[in-house]
Amino acid sequence: MKYVIIGNSTAAVGAIEGIRKIDLDGEITVVSKEPYHVYSRPLISYLLYGKTDEERMKYRKDNFYEAMNCKTILGREAMQVHHERKEVELDDDTVINYDKLLIATGSEPFIPPMEGIESVKDKFTFMSLDDAKNLEKALSPDSKVLIIGAGLIGLKCAEGIRKKVGSITVVDLADRILSSILDQEGAKVVQSHIEKENIQFVLKTQVTKFLNNKALLSNGEEIDFDVLVLAVGVRPNVDLIKEINGKVNRGIVVDEFCRTSLSDIYAAGDCCESYDITTDQNRVLALLPNAYMMGECAGINMAGGEKVYDKAIPMNSIGFFGLHMVTAGSYDGEVYTQNESGQYKKLFIKDGLLKGYIIIGNIEKAGIYTSLIREKTPLSEIDFELICSRPSLMAFSKIERKKKLGGAIYGY
Amino acid sequence: MLKEGEIRIPSGCAISGIFSKSGKRISGESIIKSIATMHDRSNGLGGGFAAYGIYPEYKDYYAFHIFYDGNISKKECEEFLERHFDIINLSKIPTRKTPGITDVPLIWRYFVTPLPTKLNESQLDEKEFVARCVMKINTKINGAYVFSSGKNMGVFKAVGYPEDVGEFYRLSEYEGYSWTAHGRYPTNTPGWWGGAHPFALLDYSVVHNGEISSYDANRRSIEMYGYKCTLQTDTEVITYIIDYLNRKIGLNLEEISAVVAAPFWQVIDRMPKEEKEKYTYLRSAFASLLITGPFSILVGFDGGMMALNDRLKLRSMVVGEKDDMVYMASEECAIRVIEQNLDKVWSPQGGEAVIVTLNGGAK
């Protein structure tokens, strides 16, 4: 059996490990346009911050490919899939054939059309190791940095470079920071915390025009900057599938076995859509845990095993300057709020189920909430009052506790 | 120093037995020769013999062999005998002056039968009546000691080496179909004739080599059934146990051996169902008569002989056969010295009773 995996990040690793659970001998070939040993993308901000280094950023050990008996073709981009011939054509015109193919191409930064953007000299996106390296080179202690986008990427970038630059201004069109994961109130808590680090936010505002080192804003202000970081959003890399008429919406469409609409072609990770069980909708969930589990699911199924991945939910754990927050699910339904000093918590309850939550501050045992969402545990079966006040196994029935603690081995 | 009966004295010993299954009567010479071979197993402080079939002319009478310290006790005892028995014959037991035998008491023999009136009055069966009379003499009449009380059998014992005792009692002049002999090695005693072996009650005689650990448990149990252990010896208590189980309870010798040298529970548990039930019953019902600690005994009885070892076989015991003759002894040499060419010789296992009887059963 010949497996070809396009992409070399989390979903690819998940797939390799998934394949090897079933098939120890089949030939695995990994193709990636990045020349690096697999590394963790989210760590690039920590790299700049100095909390990690390139060595420790490696997502798997140096001997990973060897141990997994994997062939790698790094620094080469897959240009086209010849579905009918079961071939992949690379940018050097070499052709490799496959029995099973995985598309794990991830996503790439989305840069909206902006007037005068070409006049900006030092402009960067913040997605890959190369992005981080390039950005770092452009920074100096006096740098005035402008970040477009107050989402996860923009703010992690801000945290990562804060100590290396003079000033940081973050501009976002939305009315709050981290609008994809936080509600209004929560965002305020986090924003004021970040502002203590001397980072300026300009919200509900967009850049109307760039003039070299000056940005003109929709509120009429002007901002001078030395370095521009564009962190508006990401877009799944779907072209390989789209070109051969595989089914694609915003991301590649896959079923619960991570199969695309094309035979023997699987897809996993940020390039795909997943079925979000909290909203009952297909959506792109560009999250690392999600990428791994999809990859692993795809790998197992490619190797002839049977694995279903049907518990995708949006979830994030992130911290800025020492303030941690965890969020999961969708923010729809009745709200239970706990807002004490140093602790902000909201639970979203609908149809007798926990649908989502936001916790800022003390995030201990939050996984118990996550599992309530993932397992769709009816809240009527547990001590609702207790679970609202704090995540604990105590809230479950004695029998359920016994199952959980008496030897149950968790799967997904 | 306390004498036998006032204190318990452990002792080591030699034993030997000869039995003719055809009932052929043989003289005492062979048994003396046999026991003499094991001279080193005794220390001169006791020897004795039991012989069966030696009084054919008086076979229907109880033959009482009695030691007296002196004439006063003799008189008292004879008065007692006359009150309870019809004395058919009485005489001194013939002896020969022997250098090894000293401090000779008066030794008398009586052939008796219970007075019918006394027997009726007592409402006891005859043997029980006789046994009780013997106990009474031995416990109540100072200086008198009945050391043999069976029919057509006799015990001959003294302080000295057994071969000297045989010579002293002129045993070559007696003829019997069954002989047992004993040489004693007590660890301390001034030596008392009554303490020598065999120990006998009615037809039962026991010679024993060993020192049982269960002594006091057995003694206190058997004394509950009307026995009085006056000598504090193993032999005495074993004799009473055998008498009790056989004569009073009605167990046969094989069943008795299952009581006194009972198989271990782990052995019983592996037996076939019926056997297991029997052995379990016997062990449970007569638990306090289990004898533990080393012993090898020869039990003489009317028409037969039984050899039995403790269940761990902590004392030696060999059995040999030649034609109709059966030999049992502490050591094989004691058999070989009187019969070179044995048909068969073996060492019975611990707790395995070897029982021989006259052809055609006991008389």
């Binding site: - | 020192e211 269960s214 009605g250 009972a262 533990t292």
Partner: protein, 501 residues
């Protein structure tokens, strides 16, 4: 509140260098001795509340705690001991009867400690229990007086119903109520595992424990709590409790507060009402009445269960035993004055009854003298502390022993003698769920099994030393014993010689 005349008997000593404020002492003390001073960030103790049960000492992970007897003293003398004075203060304060738990603590002679065991040398070999079978299995019950044979001459089993024990040890009566569910479960499971019996005591048998019936003695006491047909049939033997060594002549009283939930159900007593065991059985005012009860119980159980009659060791115990041995009972249990209790009036506990050693010796001899020793087995209890005591008891004439206090100690009891307070920190003598929980029967039963197995090993060693390889040859084998420092009368009653004789 007037003057407090009493100074705490014990002091809690805390090594502040080792205390890490983990507060386990505070959490584990039901007497609330320990507390945490939030202000000073240190643990404190109130000595006056301490009963010296060692729960905190045992659990303290850094061994920062110990309990010492106070050296504070009264101006006492040989007559007016500190205890005598204290008791007067207590009674002057309360006007009540003093209550205590566990056995007689006073300095009366312990005869077991004045008796020594024999061993073989030279003339008789000792037996190595590691190499040779060494039998400690015991059958309890009456022995037949004669044998019977069928028409083929085969022996008929005419033994009356009895019980078989893998070793001569049983757990003595401790009721569910006086001790906890978990303590009972531990005893029941240990009895099953070790092949011996435990005893329900007078509190009935919890439905959960019917499964251990073949290792259970069901007790019928004067209160008749929890007695019904299924109960009688559930056990391997039935015990009529006439008396208890710790409180001869006294009944029992389990306060209504303890008659809750399962205890109420098991005892068949309404929740909250006191369970009072009368001093006598009100249907037994004489020996012939006892005989009637023995046979009533046998009739009720189709003569399939041996009946035990348990009495306290009192002055005329031998005569009483003789009567019982002729009453149809199969086993006599005699409880000496050191036997334990969950609660007894202090004066009774400390002044009534006789030592079990003397009672046993006189009963065994009396029954032998009367030729009725085989009618019954004798089981004794009342402070059997180790296997040496057992060997001595059997050599004096017992068939088996009951252990109660020793079993509780194995379960963790530290003999703080505060059972009557119901706050046992070891989960034994309490019904408070959070305390009961502290005795994990999985651990408890194993500890009991360990104890009796260890003792059984030791019994075998001692038997082997004597050259005895079966326990029945030890029973009543008083020549294996010698007394030390006993007077003629004591030796005579015990039926043993003095050392050196």
């Amino acid at each position: 509140m007037g003057i407090n005349y009493l100074y705490p008997e014990y002091e809690v000593v805390r090594n502040m260098d080792r205390c890490i404020n983990c507060r386990v002492c505070e959490r584990q003390c039901a007497n609330e001795v320990h507390s945490f001073d939030e202000e000073r960030k240190i643990m404190c103790s109130d000595d006056a509340l301490c009963v010296n049960c060692h729960r905190c000492v045992s659990l303290c992970p850094t061994r920062a705690l110990k309990i010492v007897k106070t050296d504070h003293t009264f101006k006492e003398n040989a007559n007016w001991s500190g205890r005598a004075i204290t008791e007067i203060y207590k009674q002057a304060e309360s006007g009540g009867v003093l209550l205590s738990s566990m056995g007689n603590p006073n300095n009366y002679p312990v005869y077991f400690d004045k008796i020594l065991i024999n061993a073989s040398q030279v003339t008789n070999p000792s037996i190595d229990p590691l190499r040779e079978p060494m039998e400690t299995k015991v059958f309890l019950g009456s022995k037949p007086k004669k044998i019977e044979r069928d028409k083929d001459g085969k022996l008929i089993n005419n033994l009356s119903a009895g019980v078989e024990l893998a070793m001569p040890i049983m757990f003595s009566a401790m009721s569910y109520g006086s001790i906890s569910y978990n303590a009972h479960e531990s005893l029941a499971r240990a009895a099953q595992e070790a092949g011996i019996l435990y005893n329900t005591g007078e509190g009935g048998l919890h439905k959960d424990f019917y499964q251990y019936g073949s290792n259970t003695i069901v007790q019928v006491a004067s209160g008749r709590f929890g007695v019904h047909k299924d109960y009688l049939e559930a056990g391997a033997a039935i015990e009529i409790k006439m008396g208890q060594g710790a409180k001869p002549g006294i009944g029992g009283h389990l306060p209504g507060a303890k008659i809750v939930g399962d205890i109420s159900k098991t005892r068949m007593v309404p929740e909250g009402s006191d369970a009072i065991s009368p001093a006598p059985h009100h249907d037994i005012y004489s020996i012939e009445d006892l005989r009637q009860l023995v046979y009533s119980l046998k009739e009720a159980t189709d003569y399939k269960k041996p009946v035990i009659v348990k009495i306290a060791a009192v002055h005329n115990v031998a005569a009483i035993a003789s009567g019982i041995a002729r009453s149809g009972a199969d086993i006599i249990a005699i409880d000496g004055f050191r036997g334990g209790t969950g609660a007894a009036p202090t004066r009774i506990r400390d002044n009534v009854g006789i030592p079990i050693e003397l009672a046993l010796a006189s009963v065994d001899q009396r029954l032998r003298d009367e030729g009725i020793r085989d009618n019954v087995s004798i089981v004794i209890g009342g402070s059997i502390r180790n296997s040496g005591d057992i060997v001595k008891a059997i050599a004096l004439g017992a068939d088996a022993v009951y252990i109660g206090t020793a079993a509780l100690i194995a379960l963790g009891c530290h003999l703080c003698r505060s059972c009557h307070l119901g706050k046992c920190n070891w989960g034994i003598a309490t019904q408070r769920p959070e305390l009961v929980k502290r005795l994990n029967p999985n651990v408890g039963y194993q500890r009991l099994v360990n104890l009796v197995r260890a003792w059984n090993h030791e019994i075998k060693e001692m038997m082997g030393g004597m050259g005895i390889n079966s326990i029945e040859s030890l029973k009543g084998n008083r020549l294996m014993l010698r007394g030390l420092g006993l007077n003629e009368k004591e030796l005579q009653i015990l039926g043993i010689k003095h050392g050196g004789e």
